[in-house]
């Protein structure tokens, strides 16, 4: 969101300067360049700065920009992102945590040594011990209960998109995920463990998975009876009620299909497309254009003999619309071509013009019918 804000800021500053430049005299024009560049400290510029590719002038602009606290916050947020995407080495977190626990112990002991125990009567000591044990036991019971109840919330968090939205997220291992509209990805809240990098997808997403030094597998789990296992590659996954498909752009992935207690493994090569229908029937084919399945990332739809039924699915799943057709035969009409659609209206327009159908917009739903003019 911060990124959007800064873009808006740049845009506004540009337009203001344009107006100022036209209305005022030369004195204002001299001030102008600094104003423009000051507001154009972008993530891209900072990323270049982090790798030592900025000029002295740009450095000065960054300094001025970062002297505002909100910008400095942004600075560290981008710095963290940069360090996560391009780590210098893999730090030994587990060792650090062990040392931190030792530190806590030392710290606690140190604190209690400062108040040396009195030596009260024997009865009192016993009573105190009992009380202490009882309190400690009940506290740990309560914590255990809370821990069990909230461990799922505690351990995972969900990245999601609303209707008509696509967003890109960077994960802590340097991989990135672009979620298509109305999709959700559950990831471990505190980074991936030592063994596998496991995520859970509902909807559609394009993954760009980085290879880790320790060859950690990246596993995409779905609500369907399959998961995708990779080391480092680019692929898209679609998994919704009506079926599922996996398209591979680069690298190699393995699909584990679970059925009847057994697991069937399928290896995919670039260009392969694996689809599952509603009944989990698997089909594998080689797609000549793997980007057909990734075009949504730039709001580009590649239709190849795509039926109206399929397009209606897109409207429902990605834009949350309720679409009805007055004649079932219309569903098998097909469209071929590429469409860049910024909104659902563009897709509706396509249906109107290319298929020559009539679109009636209601409050909650859309009716597609034959054009009887």
């Amino acid at each position: 969101m911060a990124a959007i804000l800064s873009d808006v800021h740049t845009w506004l500053a540009f337009h203001l300067d344009y107006v100022v430049g036209e209305l005022f005299n030369l004195h204002d024009l001299v001030v102008k360049p600094i104003e423009i560049m000051n507001s154009s400290v972008t993530k891209e510029l900072l990323f270049r700065h982090f790798t030592g590719k900025t000029s002295a002038i740009q450095k000065q602009l960054i300094d001025e920009w970062a002297s505002v606290k909100a910008n400095e916050e942004l600075y560290y947020s981008w710095l963290e992102e940069h360090e996560t995407m391009h780590p210098e080495y893999a730090a030994d977190l587990e060792r650090a945590i062990t040392r931190y626990h030792n530190f806590l112990k030392r710290n606690k002991n140190g604190a209690s040594n400062e108040t040396p125990e009195n030596t009260p009567g024997k009865d009192e000591t016993t009573w105190r011990r009992f009380l202490f044990t009882a309190v400690a036991a009940s506290i740990s019971l309560v914590m255990l209960f809370l821990g069990l109840r909230s461990s799922q919330v505690w351990k995972y968090r969900t990245l999601s998109t609303g209707y008509g939205q696509t967003r890109t997220f960077h994960l802590s291992d340097g991989s990135s995920v672009t979620l298509n509209a109305n999709s959700a990805l559950k990831i471990p809240r505190w980074g991936f463990g030592k063994t596998n990098r496991s995520v859970f997808l509902e909807g559609e997403a394009a993954f760009s998975v980085t290879h880790t030094l320790t060859n950690q597998k990246f596993i995409v789990q779905t609500a369907k009876q399959f998961e995708i296992e990779v080391l480092g590659t680019e692929f898209t996954v679609f998994s919704r009620e009506r079926g599922a498909r996996v398209a591979l752009n680069k690298g190699k992935v393995q699909i584990n299909l679970h059925r009847g207690g057994g697991t069937r493994k399928m290896i995919m090569k670039p260009g392969d497309l694996i689809t599952l229908d509603k009944e989990n029937q698997v089909k594998k084919k080689s797609s000549l254009q793997p980007d057909t399945h990734a075009g949504w990332q730039s709001h580009r739809y590649v239709f190849d003999q795509t039926s109206l039924q399929e397009i209606i699915y897109i409207l429902q799943e990605n834009h949350g619309m309720i679409v009805e057709v007055n004649d079932k035969n219309l569903l098998s009409l097909t469209v071929t071509g590429t469409l860049t659609a910024d909104s659902a209206d563009h897709i509706l327009e396509l249906i109107e013009t290319v298929l020559g159908l009539r679109i009636t917009k209601g409050d909650q739903q859309i009716l597609i019918s034959q054009n009887n003019q």
Partner: protein
């Protein structure tokens, strides 16, 4: 910061308009850090011990990756970052924090890395008898970009070492290996390793000194 986009429900009846909002032609890149920060805040308020452990899990890796750019050694980088966490705990700075944890931690690590280089350079100068003066905890740079400039100078200095010397330097400094191990692997004498390291360190110091020492001295006087 709140992110209204994230709290949308998936109900199909939620939006009756036919023009759903778009983020623009490009998908926005969103590291989604703010919800983590909020979560960490709650965790630390409830239980500082456990909360700071989560803070470790969240920020230790990127902080170490950053610190090593200045100090060049895994061990030193991890100790330095851990010290920041210990102080954060000991001084209960977490209770009074108003910025994000990320902001606090990155600033603290950068300042410490800066002081680390500064005291190294100063100690060497004192040994060489070039500089005499009282040691004080000088300030840190006023301009944020000087931090990047410093670690880039460190890296450039290491990169301009002769290749065989750089190799020994990296094995000793970055990987933290013992002289004997390095000597065995490269089939040279321990003495050679020592000499090469001495020269490497002196070379790096020389390169840094010309630019940064006046700055360090000024920061004491100023």
């Amino acid at each position: 910061m709140t992110q209204p986009e994230d709290v949308q429900t998936n109900s199909p009846f939620r939006r009756s308009s036919l023009s759903p909002q778009y983020d623009g032609p490009h998908a926005t890149v969103q590291p989604l850090l703010e919800s983590d920060e909020l979560f960490l805040k709650q965790a630390i308020e409830e239980n500082p011990d456990k909360g700071i452990e989560l803070l470790y899990r969240r920020y230790f890796q990127p902080l170490c990756s950053h610190a090593i750019k200045y100090v060049g050694s895994k061990t030193v980088a991890e100790d330095l970052v851990s010290d920041v966490f210990y102080d954060f705990y000991r001084t209960t700075a977490y209770a009074a924090i108003e910025s994000s944890y990320r902001y606090y931690l990155f600033r603290a690590v950068r300042n410490r890395a800066f002081s680390h280089i500064k005291s190294n350079l100063r100690r060497a100068e004192l040994l060489d008898g070039r500089y005499e003066g009282t040691c004080s905890h000088g300030q840190s740079p006023e301009a944020i970009s000087q931090f990047e400039e410093l670690y880039q100078d460190v890296q450039n200095a290491v990169n301009s070492l002769p290749i065989s010397r750089r190799r020994i330097y990296m094995m000793s400094r970055f990987e933290g290996r013992k002289y004997q191990e390095i000597a065995d692997e490269l089939e040279v004498s321990v003495k050679t390793v020592e000499v090469q390291l001495y020269r490497a360190n002196r070379f790096i110091r020389m390169l840094l000194r010309n630019k940064w020492l006046p700055f360090f001295l000024m920061s004491i006087l100023g």
